[in-house]
Structures are given as C-alpha cells and as structure tokens.
Amino acid sequence: MRKEAVLSGRHFMMGNIACAEGALAAGCRFAAGYPITPATEVAERLAERLPVVGGTFLQMEDEIASIAAVIGASWGGLKAMTATSGPGISLMLENIGFALGTETPCVIVNVMRGGPTTGIPSVELQGDVVQPRRGSHGDYQIIALAPSSVQESFDYTVEAFNLAERFRTPVFVLSDAFLGHMREELVIPEEENISIVNRRVFPPEQTGETLPGFLDEDVAPMPVFGRGHKAHVTSSCHDAYGRRNVIDAGALDVFIKKLNDKIAKHRDEIVRVTTDAGGAEVVLVSYGSVFRCAQAAVEAGRAEGLPLGWVKLGTLWPFPDREIEAAARRANHLIVLENNLGQLFPYVQAAAAGRCSVSFLPPRVLGELHEIEDILKAVRGVRA
C-alpha cells in the first residue's frame, strides 16, 4: 500500500474506497465510525490509511459517539468525517443538528441501504434523500451531494470537505449500496491539481469576547480550540459571540435565520446540476446510481429517434429548484426517476410549478435498477 495521502494515478476501485481516498485527498485526518453494512469499507480503508498519514480512525461505541467525536475533532482543528448507513444516520441526527447549530465543518457519508428500519443492509435504496434536509429537529438548511459513479464518489467527497470548510457546516455525501460496492475506473489527480478549501480561522490574540465567531451569513471565522481564543460554543440558541440566550424568541429568530441564510444566500456556489437536454421534449431527472439508468435510457431512446434528454442532480440540498424550473421551461415532460416511492418528486413538481408535466417512475422492484425498457415505455407514454 502506498503511503502518500493522495494516491494520484489510475485505479480500478470500489465506490466506498474511492470515498475514503477522496477524504484523505481533501485533508481529512480524523474519522470515527461504527461498523454497518454497506458502508463499512469506508471505515476499514480509513482505519488502514489514516494512521500512515498521521491521522486517526477511532471505532466508537455507537454512531452517536462517532459523530460527536468527529465534531470534537473538528473544533480541535482537524478535518473530520464519519461514514454510515440509514440506521446510523438516524442515531446521529441529534448531533448533526448540533454541528449545524454550532457551525462545525464535518462530512457525513451515508451509503444508503434498503429501509425503513433494519431493512436489507446489502440492497440499495435512495430511501434517505430527504432525511438530511428534515431529519434533525428544528428548521435549518443542509448541504447534500449525490455521486453517481466511483469517480464522483472521490470527487464529491473532496467537494463535501471543501463545502464543509467554506460554510462551516456538516455536509452529506449520499452514496448507496450499489455505488458503494461497484468497481470502476477512478483517476486521482496530482495533489497540486486538487482544489482544497480550508476554514477561515480566528486571528491570533482574538477571543470569543472580542470577535464574533458565529451567525454570519457570509460565514464567521472559526475560533478553533487550543489556540487561546477562549471560544464559547453551545448548541443552545446563541448570539454572534456564542453567548447563550434561552429566554428570548427574538434571539431564536436571528439564530435560525442567520444559519438558514448562510446556506440559502450562497446556493449558487453550492448547487451543481448537469444537463444533456438541448431541445429535448422529454427530460429524465435523476441522481445517484439511478442516473446511470437514465443516461443509458437516453442513449437508447435517442438511437430510436426519441427526443430525450437528462438532468442530473449532483446536489440534492439545497434543492436545485431554479435549475429544475429552467428545465421545465424548455421541456414538455419531466420524468423523475428515483429508487424509492418518490422522495424528491414533490420537490421537482413544486419547482416545475406547472410549466410542464412532471411524472414519477420508480424501478419495477424497489432496490433493483430501473429497466431501460421501462423508462422508454414511460417516455412513450407521456408523449402519447
């Protein structure tokens, strides 16, 4: 095994391993986790690789402790992550809310499996795509990325760390059992060609009493621990200096809105949507592993003369509403493909706002891939 942090070169690699390598390339030096199928390879790879580059992987007593340790390490100045699957995310949600409220950069990888509840660990389902947005209590904005290939498992994990550092917030990578265990070509660029973002930190000599370290729509500098900043960090409602205020609804109003606006104001910097839909009458909207089916269906449909295109949502949150609206203006029909019962479908409908028809197509059997012929049948159906 090579010992450098960035394994530049061509690889034939599993999605979960690519995700771990993306984290290392982004500068992650702390990871904590708890074994869970189908995400375990991420932890195993990090356990093997992190100590070699001076980092640490800890297997914690549960997922709650895992995300807590990740947040603690981030306040200690390290880039940190955890990887789990749906049941683990369900346990982590309170502390993910803590990371949101205290503006803690960290990355959470969810290799989604078939749920609800224990479900089937080794079958993929896009069952947790709204969970990051609304799973923790209260009102907030989150960032979630959805890779659709092994290459993107690497690229989007790097991007997730960059966004976490840029916006001081937890960022989700929503992979799935199919993608996590799929092997494909991965090209890791030379280290100097990977763009890395590091958090803005407090200047020396400033303390939490003299400089605001929270609640800035344009992201306050972080009073990282251990440097004499005497930071007061609480997930209770607080002001820009981190001073707790648990009696004043006006303070809560500012607390919620500033955190919300920090993401909402910068959504154009975050949202990534790719399209191949020039002049297409019917456009397939998808994300993650299902995009691979959509892409194949568009190729097959075009070969038989169908006016087909695709929109791929690389970012699920903040929701790419403007991009969907633009697609809805140009197309006659949007068909939303998801491997679930239609979790993002209502969001697409709302964004399309009646500008064209929007329909939904799950795979024939949840947890299996969409059949190309089923997709083309749906396309012919909406055109009829």
Partner: protein, 278 residues
C-alpha cells in the same frame, strides 16, 4: 471596607460576559467550581491549557459559559464522546468534562464506560445531585431508593447506581468521590485527577435544594450539607465496616489511582508502527 474594590482570587478565570449565574440559591455548583478552579490555580496551569466540555443539565452550566476558556457545551449525555475527538485533535491540551449524573450515567452511560475502558487521558467531574434538576425534579439513576420525586410519586423503586464502582469496573486509572461538604478534598483530588495520565473520574455529591431537597423532603441546602457530613465515611474507615453498617452511607475518598497504558500513547505507538510498516 466600603469603597474598596475587592476582586475574588479566581475571578480571572470567569468569562467577562458571564457575570450572572443561572444557579438556584443554595446550589452546590459554586462550591465545586471554586474547588476546580482552585486546583487549576494551585497547579500553576492556565485555562488555555484546557478544553472544557459539558452536556445538558445544571452541572453542564459550570464551565458553560462561566469558565473563560475553550468550552464546548454539547448535546445531552454526549460530552465525553465529543471530548474524545477534541483530545485526539489536541493531545497536549487537558480535556475536562463537567456534567451531571443524569447526563453522564443515564443517557450518556455508554460513553462513560467506554471512555474509562479506553483509558483516554481526560478528567471527568460528575456532579451527582441525585435528581434531574433542570427539568424539575425527576428520578435519576442515582436517586436513593424510596425517595419521592415528581416521576416517582409513590417512591423510587429502582436501585441507584454506585457510579464509582461502575467506572472502576470499566477500567479507569483514577476514581474518587467527595461531596460538596468537602471542598478542600475536592480541590486536592482534582489536582491529582488533572495530572493523571489516563481516565480520571471524580464524583461529587452536590446539593440541589430546589429540585431535590424540596421535592424529596431532604430539606434545605444547609440540611443537605449536614446530611453529607453525617453520612460520609472515609474509604479507610469504610473498609472495616459491614455492608449493613454502610447502608445509606456515602463512602468518600480516592478509590483507584493506578498507572496503565493511556489511549493517546497507544495511538501514537500504533501510528508509528503503521508509518514504519512496509
């Protein structure tokens, strides 16, 4: 003395913007805060040498916001787990968790025993008031048998934890118990706990006159301190007493003080091994 400014010798450790306390009249938090800060002062340490971590509950509000240091006020029950990440990131800083019995032994019990098992260098001060104070006097895993609380209106029928036995069994390097009747002993023990290379746990029984004393009938702050005085038995004396004689007593002292491999050291050794492996 009127007109003369007098500054408390520990005032330098208090966050300037945190001059108002939320503690109830008679609360034990102040006694404990003074003992902890006194220990830090006597050791000649700066608060910049520490990161304080606390959970949810009245005891968690001792460092947050009052200590003028890096303070992470976390979710309920999880401060030790957060503290582990901080310690890994900042191995040369001293991580001190100050939280309550409900936080550390009920909702957070799993993290407590696993941190003790790992023997990570960390000082954990468990403020045991025997009740959920902040939420209004509900049963805790430390509430004595038979006492009436607002969620045990017919008396507590569950056995309370012996927290020190629990942490000792889990593998901590240092385990001690005092009460707020023993501020000087707390200070001396805290000095040892802070310097311990390993997991150091100090339980402090602390009076909550408003939610414990009033609702269980155990009385005022003064009555509760007198209860601590009357019931406390030093470890050396307790060792010669029968379980029958020790019933309803509070055994105080230092129960464990041993040297054993500490997690930051074993992690560093593992890293060195990983780096040198071919």
């Amino acid at each position: 003395m009127s007109g003369m400014a007098f500054e408390h010798p520990l005032a330098k450790y208090i966050r300037p913007s945190a001059i108002v306390t939320a503690n109830c009249p008679g609360c034990g938090n102040g006694i404990l805060a003074q003992s902890i800060l006194g220990a830090i002062q006597e050791l000649g340490l700066s608060l910049d040498d520490f990161v304080f971590v606390s959970g949810i509950g009245c005891a968690a509000w001792i460092p947050s916001p009052h200590f003028f240091a890096d303070v992470l006020h976390t979710t309920h029950g999880r401060p030790i787990a957060f503290g582990i990440g901080i310690k890994v990131a900042l191995p040369h800083k001293r991580v001190m968790v100050i939280s309550g019995d409900g936080d550390l032994t009920a909702i957070g019990g799993n993290h407590l025993i696993h941190a003790a098992r790992r023997n990570i260098e960390m000082t954990v001060i468990c403020v045991n008031n025997g009740i959920y104070g902040m939420t209004g006097g509900q049963l805790a895993p430390t509430t004595p048998l038979g006492l009436t609380t607002v969620t045990t209106p017919f008396g507590n029928v569950e056995n309370p934890f012996d927290i020190c036995e629990l942490v000792k069994g889990a593998g901590a390097s240092f385990v001690a118990r005092w009460t707020t009747y023993h501020p000087r002993q707390i200070l001396r023990t805290a000095k040892k706990a802070i310097q311990k290379k390993g997991f150091a746990f100090v339980e402090v029984l602390s009076q909550c006159p408003v939610e414990f004393g009033r609702k269980t009938g155990m009385g005022t702050a003064v009555q509760m301190l007198q209860w601590y005085k009357k019931s406390s038995v030093p470890l050396a004396r307790a060792q010669g007493m029968s379980p029958e004689d020790l019933r309803d007593k509070i055994v105080v002292g230092e129960f464990v003080n041993v040297e054993k491999p500490e997690l930051m050291e074993t992690l560093a050794a593992m890293r060195a091994k990983a780096m040198s492996a071919t």
